[in-house]
Symmetry: C2
């Protein structure tokens, strides 16, 4: 008996994503800040020209091309032209420290850097540490006449595109060819480089589309929608959505440097219907002075990067926003789960609105082709009972195979053949994933695991509190004890005791453990955040350890 295998002569390549809108949606546009507009055929020609420009700079299969830019049409062009040329796109995190930016650019082996004028001071500080860089290309919004090329630059983006041919052939190659790389900053050590192949990005694009588009009650999208990312494009390919939006030929809006008033203006004037962002950004937009005058109803927003707090969810829903969660991370391309309302769940719920909110803030259902398990330390599966808490591990066709040049970290990431997220979660009987906490952020107190996120969610429901972060601090008697950092709402009046009392009510009712009531509530002007806008609990713990704020 022979096992018949079939020849496979159609590699999954990013160039194929671009073929769709050319055929399907040439009348839609790629819009930059409302100022510049490109039809899909124009966009495609610019992709061809960028690839030609890279050829002229000597880029070959395997050359790493880095980008430092705000969200822009240029960034989208690099998403296609760089990997379509067989090069590796390195999306530099411009919010890292200059030290870290230098490390990541050099570690990626970048030979060509496309860099926006806003980041020239950073470049000046680190240029000598980047010996592999052969070409610098200037990205600027200035008119051609006003451009003066800094020393050491090969040219400006628009001039190089103008000089390149309008058409370039993109031959087939191995679908496992690396397409992208970028760096994730963990809690310890140097930034780690993740990497994704053409096959992975194509499958992720299909996975995003199939997962997003199958929703029935909320989150109903189509290619008639207008897409505006509010996630930096250096961060996990802006969650992969620009690839999906381009494949569908959707109208796409890119905001440049993130400013709430610009975002709100574009939302209104460009009739944006779908965005995605971290909770912090949604919080900023809802609280921007300009937000009051703008109709936000009909805007669909996917929240990721951090858990969607219930209070933020309700505040957005009150404005008519269809808000819901996605879950993923740099290592996972990133989509792992998405929360979508289901009639079967809602119809069976005693309180429909409560069930709806609980669904919207949950991490949600595994995306197409994502396998999720909740396991104990020995990789045994835990029951799907909505109670048992274990580490979330995953398999899917689009997870990073490891960290560049870091076999030890790669091995730890893939322990037992499953990707370890470092997140603690639980699964419902119906397959819905709830993220309880980061493994490193959970507070272990009195022999119990207490979710810092759970306490934060309760504190945020206090009317005086705008932002909150709970961290565990070492305690001789209890192992650890929770401490809350809070930012008060402007003009609000609150005390340490009032907040603790607010949490204690929920402990008295049995909803949470009494160990979960924080020992201290520390009022601060602003919370420490990481470069991608997440709470930086490592910094907060360091602050507590070093300061007089250390718990008694």
């Amino acid at each position: 008996m022979t096992i018949p295998t079939l020849p496979n002569n159609y590699p999954l390549l990013i160039k194929q994503i671009l073929k769709m809108p050319l055929a399907q949606a040439s009348q839609r546009q790629i819009v930059y800040r409302g100022d510049q507009r490109f039809t899909y055929p124009q966009f495609a020609e610019r992709v061809h020209r960028l690839a030609g420009a890279l050829d002229a700079l000597g880029a070959k299969m395997g050359t790493t091309v880095a980008v430092m830019d705000w969200d822009s049409h240029r960034y989208l062009e690099s998403y296609f032209a760089v990997p379509m040329s067989g090069c590796v796109l390195m999306t530099a995190n411009i919010r890292l420290s200059p030290e870290q930016i230098a490390y990541t650019l050099d570690h990626s082996g970048a030979e060509i850097l496309l860099i926006h004028t806003d980041f020239l001071p950073i470049l000046a500080a680190i240029r000598t540490r980047l010996p592999k860089l052969r070409h610098l290309v200037l990205l600027t919004d200035a008119p051609a006449a006003d451009i003066s090329l800094p020393d050491g630059f090969t040219g400006d983006y628009e001039s190089l595109l103008a000089a390149a041919p309008a058409q370039r052939d993109f031959p087939d190659f191995d679908e496992n060819t690396q397409a992208t790389t970028f760096y994730t900053t963990g809690t310890t050590g140097l930034p780690k480089g993740v990497m994704f192949s053409h096959r992975q990005i194509v499958l992720h694009t299909l996975g995003v589309m199939a997962t997003l588009l199958m929703a029935g009650l909320n989150a109903k999208f189509s290619r008639e929608d207008v897409y505006m990312p509010l996630t930096p494009m250096f961060h996990v390919h802006a969650w992969g959505f620009p690839f999906a939006a381009t494949m569908m030929g959707m109208q796409q809006i890119y905001v440049g440097r993130f400013l709430p008033e610009v975002v709100l203006k574009l939302l209104a004037t460009e009739h944006v219907t779908i965005s995605h962002c971290v909770p912090t950004i949604m919080h900023m937009i809802l609280n921007a002075p300009a937000a009051a005058a703008i109709d936000l109803s009909g805007w669909h927003v996917i929240i990721g990067g951090s858990a969607l707090p219930r209070a933020l969810c309700e505040a957005a829903m009150a404005r008519g926003i269809d808000i819901f969660s996605g879950y993923g991370m740099s290592e996972t391309c990133p989509l792992m789960t998405m929360s979508q309302l289901r009639s079967t769940t809602l119809d069976a719920a005693p309180d429909r609105r409560d069930a709806e909110i609980a669904t919207r803030v949950a991490a949600g259902l595994p995306a197409v082709f994502v396998e999720i398990r909740i396991v104990d330390d020995a990789m045994n599966d835990l029951p799907h009972d909505g109670k048992s808490i274990g580490e979330v591990v995953a398999r899917s066709p689009y997870l990073t195979p490891g960290y560049a040049g870091n076999p030890e970290a790669s091995e730890a990431l893939w322990r037992g053949g499953w990707l370890h997220t470092g997140d603690l979660g639980m699964l419902d009987a119906d397959g819905t994933l709830h993220i309880v906490d980061r493994l490193k952020d959970v507070v272990k107190t009195g022999g119990e695991w207490v979710s810092s996120i759970g306490i934060e969610d309760i504190i945020l429901q206090h009317p005086a509190i705008a932002e909150v972060a709970v961290v565990g601090v070492p305690d001789e008697r209890w192992g650890e004890r929770p401490v809350a950092f809070v930012v008060a709402r402007p003009g609000a009046d609150a005390t340490d005791e009032a907040i603790k009392a607010h949490v204690r009510v929920r402990a008295d009712s049995g909803e949470i453990s009494r160990y979960a009531v924080p020992d201290r509530v520390v009022f601060v002007e602003a919370l420490d955040k990481t470069s991608v806008g997440k709470l930086d609990k490592k910094a907060m713990r360091a602050r507590l350890a070093a300061s007089v704020l250390a718990p008694s």
Copy 2:
């Protein structure tokens, strides 16, 4: 410079499709004829049991397992269990002649046959010609107590499932492993076996989902929909939709033997919202006596297999049906294009309703990852001007690599590296494909190509005509001349002359060539059809050549 390729340890396998609804939609059902209902976990267990039953019959990686059944939950179980076990699923076309069925079963190398009681007479006639068959398994709707196993049968389906373990491991294997085979009957020669791998079926499933679900104006689906195929499951995996519906955890209804009154009853009682079928079936349903009493509004129907005639489109729309076209063939898995309304097209049209109907009857836009070209004999691209007619050729990740054991036909199919459809079409500037005719059905008359489909469409608009087929017959002077076979509506009064005059009006207006007016209109009781319900023009041409009906 090295070209970095990434390891790929996640093969695309059909088992992964089944993993989704287990997590997501356990409360939906697989329903057989309204009588039997299985939740998704029950369905999944039956898939495991079927795989275990095949193990018990000695099936190994590469063993061909054939099925002869009406559309059923059992068929759906075999769609998964057979390939998940590494076996090849052969879906036998039960509408072929016993001769052809014997040929295709034997040619596929089938060792195990799952066969419904209704087809036992056929089996009795061909059993001696099937020496490779080792096991026969009886499929029956009869209660267990009433089953008497025919001679030579190993067991009945339900007993074998009951005896098998409830759980079976499905290890990973090469994604290019062959998953399915079935036979297509061309116009000449023996049936030809096409074949598809796990990777191809998985990618096709994602392609169907992404293409179908991105629609914005009509054809808005979600996993909340209720799916009932009206295409035989032996025909190109029922167009691949059962895989997509299962992945989404949709409610699925299988009708068993096709009877219009059963279909109409299930439509109403099971609240079906999405189906697909050939035009003939839609025609039968709309004209069934029971149809008048049933609300068909909100039913979405994809028409494929043959062009959707404008008259049928309008008749369905008048009943509130969201009807539109898909285009594909056995060799293409099958989805190549789908017609979807787009606001950009409709908003720009002088007559919105006319533009809508023109869109619905067009083959439509290329599906995700399908490349379509219109070429001349030398494979040169023709302009996308909505006028230039050439052969439709395609590339996509899910086309059959060839015909089993038929290198000559395979080479012709893939001439120049593109799959030749044998269809003539034209492309609009916006990428919409219009199928003009089968290459072999086009009428070449007076040096012009005349589309038989175009003439049929006009004749169908005559109130006296229920069905029509136009074929070309040899003519000394003109090369070929069109002849129309028509079926009159019951009680309608029409003549050869009246129909020709009806067509001549359109020729006089310049809409069609004057060569397109048929020489003769032949009234018949029924049109010749192929085993899958398509017009059999080969038979009609033979009838003309052989009979006194030969044109003067």
